[in-house]
Amino acid sequence: MNPFSFRRLVRHLFLPAVLLPIFASCNKDNRGDTPAPYFCEGKYLVLNNGDWGKNDASVGRWQDVKKVYYPNAFYQTNNQHLGDLGQDAMVYGSKIYIAISGSKKIFVTDLNLHLIRTINSDDMQPRQLAADEGKVYATLYEGYLAEIDTTDFSLRKTKVGDYPEGVVVYNEKAYVANSGGLNYPNYGKTLSVVDLTSFQEEKTLTVKDNPCGLWRCNDRLYILSYGNYADVPAKLQVCVMGTDYVQDVDYASPAMCAIYGDRLYVLADAYNAAGATVYIHNAQKNEKVGTFLTSEAQVTQAYSLSATKDYLWIGTSDYKTTGEMLVWNRETPARYTSFDTAGINPQKVIELPE
């Protein structure tokens, strides 16, 4: 961190260089050595999306009792970076799956973040992950749903709509949100329903413009569509899986959601200067329960929302500097703590099993 002092510059660079030009190779290989085994602990993993083009996606580990954060844990453990744009992370069957969209890879690690396998995701950009019955599902931005076998890591894919984002699996069917994001201003308006036995898209459901986020509680599917950022607003909807019926859920300016059990948290007014609001919604009965946070909490620049057994997490970002993770106790909506995530755009928090 110590910037070059003038004296050091003269002493180390100019004088010897002028007197005796040495063809020194500066910084080629000094990053290739294996560091000492890295210690980190904690039940929670924070995924940082990073800034486009900077190869700075990272995963940090947090110990909630000691409140200690171990930044860049994947790099420290495996001596290689995740790459560009960390999109999603998921725990399934004693492994962690990390989808790195810009680098077109899904990394599979053990619960201590040791790299087991790098899945190529067929040269496509993985966006969101889901899992069921020994298979991991990933939406690929190029318009596909991939199925990865967790025993031999083989991959096959099937066509869905344009620019799929969220994916949820239930009862032998996968539901994929076709955002159509890069077709702007003609955003997508459908969900693809993929039959997992035949592994083909069997039908589509019509939803609001630009559907991205999907959350599931039993057979209830919640869909968050972002609208067109102009005259068509963002909308939260619900669908009972198995029926084709999609209905609106009444929240104004919903920005992001997170679910744990039957508790769906809805963050609204993310960029309101006064502060965002987080509502609690009963996902099973589809009714509003109450408010978790009001604008009094002064949460501006909310970037992501995650829910785990004990905590609710709001990642904040200004897109240019490292993000801040705000942590609340879920039972008593009391602000527990906050910490710097040492990465840009804190994307998600996942909980590791004991």
Binding site: M1, N2, P3, F4, F6, L9, L13, F14, V18, P21, F23, A24, S25, C26, N27, K28, R31, G32, T34, W52, G53, K54, N55, D56, S58, N78, N79, Q80, H81, L82, G83, D84, I100, G102, S103, K104, K105, D123, M124, Y141, E142, G143, Y163, L182, Y184, P185, Y226, Y229, A230, A270, Y271, S317, D318, Y319, K320, T321, T322, A342, G343, I344
Partner: protein, 683 residues
């Protein structure tokens, strides 16, 4: 640790190393490069001196390099010339075709105006000039003026811009009995690079001459680079970095009893791959850029009665750009076309009221429009008027120059939604821009100088009207520049410009402080970014510049050209922000370069060192975003063989001898070792 701003006096007392321009011996083609130089028919080794402009005597820092020096150094790239100027950095994205913009003292590329033969090459669309587009072989002088120009007989744009890069081509000079010149350049460089050039000059009659020339550049650009990624580190070759470019120009020069004419036509057409940032684990560049640029200029100048001088010019530029992205994830390849049209009318009138007093009034009117087929295009049209009233006083030891500037901009946009948005009040687009500078000669070859300049950078069309991101209510960026400097010169000059002493030294040391307000920054707002005036920055530092030469004999001399800059440039927008008082992105604390040249009648040898200290790619000084310091070694050789009736110029250069892997912009690796060989036949 954060250093305090070095007191300017301390900085200047550090052993002022300052410099003026070209060095003693002339080993290339010489051309007088001033518009109103006396008609000379001698093609001899006349020193190239730009109308007596020297950094030593300027009231504000002036950096320049002449054709002769460029040839001696075997410098073929404009970026290479600019990197040797103290206070200047080139933001380079790598490769021959990579975007290169000029940043002076951290004000940003938009605050440096680029003028080519008096035509503003600026782009209303994005307010940046890509200097990789210019062909150094066409130029006779490259000059950069910071905080204003002492030449008040110049365009309003030049006088009102924070910094001006002037590129000039010279009128042809014909020796006795010669009525034409022909020069051909053959050049080959590493990574499959070829750039031949042909230029023909013809004397039409005693007052008129013309020049016609063309050049072509092809570069495969597949340089190897090392991806640093721990265990997954590997060597790769840059893909998608090829460039093909053709340029043609035609110029007509005329001399009248008391004035001159210039008519010029330039056409540039090319295409290049955009390799994009290096993303770990993938390398699939899919972007491409085509361009067509046409510029037409007519300029007239006249002197009346020893006292009045007038210059008027009219120019038209058309710039077409097509961008294409064939990424697999796009359902249909993205193709965007942009058409920029610009009509500029300019005039300067100068009056020498008194041997000591000169007054000038300059006006530039630019009409520009942007057409594009992007969805939600706004088709902006702009009227930009810049007026500069300047006065200069020179007497004895004093030189004082002051300018009152007025900038007025008005835009019109189509498209219902944008038109309905409230456009800013007229007053927001009308600005006064004063500046004042002075130079005072002290004893023993020292000069003391100080200057203040208030300048504006109008928001570009992209800043204002780009779909969703643009903000029509943007105010211009304002920069307040303060400069205090000490210069020292040794080795007097005779009236014809020759140095009569063996040793010549020119040093300048400038301390500066720039305050930037209303910085135009992209602010995110729920996936959609928006341009806002929210930035405030302070940049302070020192620029030291040295040119020294010593002649052992008429055949042998050595020369040293060196620069060093210290920059403390921090963000002061929001005290709660993590970037508060942290060094601005891509701003090194220390930058330095030195070229040692051995100039003989048989060969010129130059060795260059170029060093930049560590920088950060974001506004926080964190290890993940650190860009390492680097030091580059270069060697170049040149020689001109004077043969019977013609000359042969041969040059070779090897850059980055140590194959250092470095980046200027994060994730855009620069080439390692590369070479270039040039053969020029001059008839």
């Amino acid at each position: 640790m954060r250093k305090r701003i070095l007191p300017f006096f301390l900085a200047t007392l550090l052993g002022a190393f300052a410099s003026q321009e070209a060095v003693a011996f002339d080993s290339g083609i010489s051309r007088a490069d001033t518009p109103l130089s006396p008609r000379s028919d001698t093609l001899s080794s006349v020193r190239v001196e730009s109308a007596g402009r020297s950094d030593i005597r300027s009231s504000a820092p002036l950096r320049q390099m002449s054709r002769a020096r460029i040839d001696t150094l075997a410098q073929e790239q404009l970026a290479g010339v600019l990197n040797s100027f103290a206070g200047v950095s080139v933001k380079d994205y790598g490769g021959r075709g990579g975007l290169k913009t000029v940043d002076v003292r951290n004000l940003g590329a938009a605050h440096t105006a680029v003028e080519y033969d008096g035509v503003d090459m600026g782009n209303m669309q994005n307010a940046q000039v890509d200097i990789s587009r210019f062909e150094l072989g066409e130029l006779s002088v490259v000059r950069l003026e910071m905080t204003g120009s002492d030449d008040i007989f110049s365009s309003a744009t030049r006088q009102l811009s924070a910094n001006v890069l002037s590129l000039e081509s010279a009128r042809p000079l014909f020796g006795e009995g010669r009525s034409f010149h022909l020069s051909a350049r053959l050049s080959a460089a590493s990574f499959g690079t070829w750039d031949p050039r042909l230029c023909y000059e013809q004397r039409l009659d005693k007052d008129w001459s013309m020049r016609i020339g063309g050049s072509f550049l092809y570069s495969r650009g597949d340089y190897p680079f090392y991806v640093q990624n721990g265990n997954a580190s590997e060597w790769q070759r840059r893909a998608g970095s090829e460039v093909r470019n053709g340029r043609g120009q035609w110029e007509l020069f005329g001399q009248t009893a008391s004035g001159q004419w210039l008519a010029k036509l330039m056409y540039d057409q090319g295409d290049r791959g955009l390799p994009g940032p290096v993303i770990f684990y993938v390398q699939e560049p899919t972007e491409h850029l085509w361009n067509k640029d046409l510029t037409a200029l007519v300029r007239w100048e006249n002197q009346y009665a020893e006292r009045w001088r007038v210059r008027a010019n009219i120019s038209y530029s058309w710039s077409f750009t097509r961008y294409r992205n064939d990424a697999a994830m796009l359902r249909v390849p993205e193709v965007d076309n942009y058409d920029n049209h610009k009509l500029a009318l300019g005039a300067v009138v100068s009056c020498r009221l008194h041997p000591d007093w000169q007054l000038s009034l300059a006006e530039d009117i630019i009409l520009a429009k942007l057409d594009s087929d992007m969805p939600e295009s706004r088709f902006p049209r702009r009227l930009h008027s810049a007026t500069a009233l300047s006065g200069k006083f020179e007497h004895g030891i004093w030189l004082v120059r002051g300018t009152l500037g007025l900038i007025y901009v008005t835009d019109k946009v189509d498209e219902g939604a944008a038109a309905a948005q409230s456009l800013p009040k007229r007053a927001d687009r009308l600005h006064f821009s004063p500046s004042l500078s002075a130079s005072c000669a002290l004893a023993e070859g020292f000069h003391l100088r100080g200057s203040y300049k208030d300048s504006y950078r109008m928001p570009s069309f992209n800043d204002l009207y780009y779909a969703r991101v643009g903000n029509p209510g943007l105010l211009p960026e304002r920069a307040h520049q303060f400069n205090l400097g000490l210069t020292w010169g040794l080795g007097s000059k005779t009236p014809d410009g020759r140095k009569d002493a063996a040793l010549s030294v020119e040093l300048s040391a400038d301390g500066y402080c720039n305050l930037i307000r209303d910085k135009i920054v992209a602010i995110p707002k729920m996936f959609i970014w928006s341009m806002r005036n929210v930035g405030e920055a302070v940049a302070a530092g020192t620029d030291l510049s040295l040119h020294a030469s010593y002649a052992f004999s008429p055949d042998i001399s050595i020369a040293l050209q060196a620069k060093y800059s210290y920059q403390y440039a921090v963000d002061v927008t929001d005290a709660q922000s993590k970037t508060y008082r942290q060094q601005l992105p891509y701003t090194p604390r220390h930058t330095g370069a030195a070229t040692l040249s051995l100039l003989t009648s048989w060969i010129n040898v130059n060795y260059t060192l170029d060093g930049v200290s560590e920088r950060f790619s974001i506004g926080q000084e964190l290890p993940t975003y650190r860009l390492d310091a680097y030091l580059l070694h270069s060697l170049s050789l040149s020689h001109t063989f004077p043969l019977r009736g013609w000359k042969l110029y041969v040059a070779a250069r090897a850059d980055n001898l140590a194959d250092t892997q470095y980046e200027i912009i994060k994730s855009y690796p620069m080439p390692g070792f590369q070479w270039q060989g040039v053969l020029r036949i001059i008839l």
